[in-house]
Symmetry: C2
Amino acid sequence: MNYCSECGAPVRRGVPAGDDHPRDICDSCGTIHYRNPKIIAGCLPVWGDRLLLCRRAIDPRRGYWTLPAGFMEEGETLAYAARREALEEANVVVEIAALYAVFSLPHLSQVYVFYRADMLDESFHPGAESLETRLFHEHEIPWEELSFETVYRSLRHYFADRRTGRFQLHHEDIGPFSQRLLTIRREPSAA
Amino acid sequence: MNYCSECGAPVRRGVPAGDDHPRDICDSCGTIHYRNPKIIAGCLPVWGDRLLLCRRAIDPRRGYWTLPAGFMEEGETLAYAARREALEEANVVVEIAALYAVFSLPHLSQVYVFYRADMLDESFHPGAESLETRLFHEHEIPWEELSFETVYRSLRHYFADRRTGRFQLHHEDIGPFSQRLLTIRREPSAA
């Protein structure tokens, strides 16, 4: 950010009074601009014992296989966003079954939320952001050609859980942050 | 948004080519500005059979009781953000036990994520954003003076689950969107 989106004046990077994170500050109109992590919502579209994957037509990772997922929009619920992405990327209509995986990627400031979802029929074809869409049995999954770690883990968990017959929520951190420690600095008590 | 944060030129609201959502578009430098839902991370700090609540010192809902929670920052994991907020608002150190509740609030473009968390000791006192911090038994919870629907539901679920002895993840939508239907409009297939 170079300019204030409210008044158009140049902003400076600094820590506002009473805050402890650097922000983009507009000294002209007083606006403090906050940036926040983004949510990527997606699903595992299930048809019988197969899963639907999409081959990416866009960067990053063009040409690699992925689960339908994308940035949640304002005004959506998580489940709605996941269904919309499935429709956009694979022209597939799904019913959300359950929240299945939540990944924090602090180095990218992203949170991924995946659902297990049932395809309502066997109809699907690539949307504008996909080169190809295809149903895969477990032994057919292109493990070496998956787009992202989040997709890899979601698929691994899915097939492992399916073997045990019990699907559980998976909640994991991905990336260098996992080991970072919270600095425990209690404010001194007034008492 | 009135001005482009990249180049400072005025922006216009419009639907970019290949998109179907209105965005803030800069015709001067070509930047499309996206807005996304925000994540609020928080926890239910447990000490024995009591829960720690904070009375809000800030608007909205100043004076009402809440669970420690706040906007997730860039570079954080969900669990880290929840622990940080507990430290900031109640000077309480917690260990995250499990993901407990996920709420979509589409009318506010917010996603709330609450964890069950164990207090590491009985030490706590109000941070800058709290007027008061206090441990509550179930029968002491100020149900009529809670800050937000998300807090109300999290507490209701917690005590109900505790009675059954089985804590499960709660995933709910709050607000007018819940009933909205996805417009099923598959693109025509090229085939």
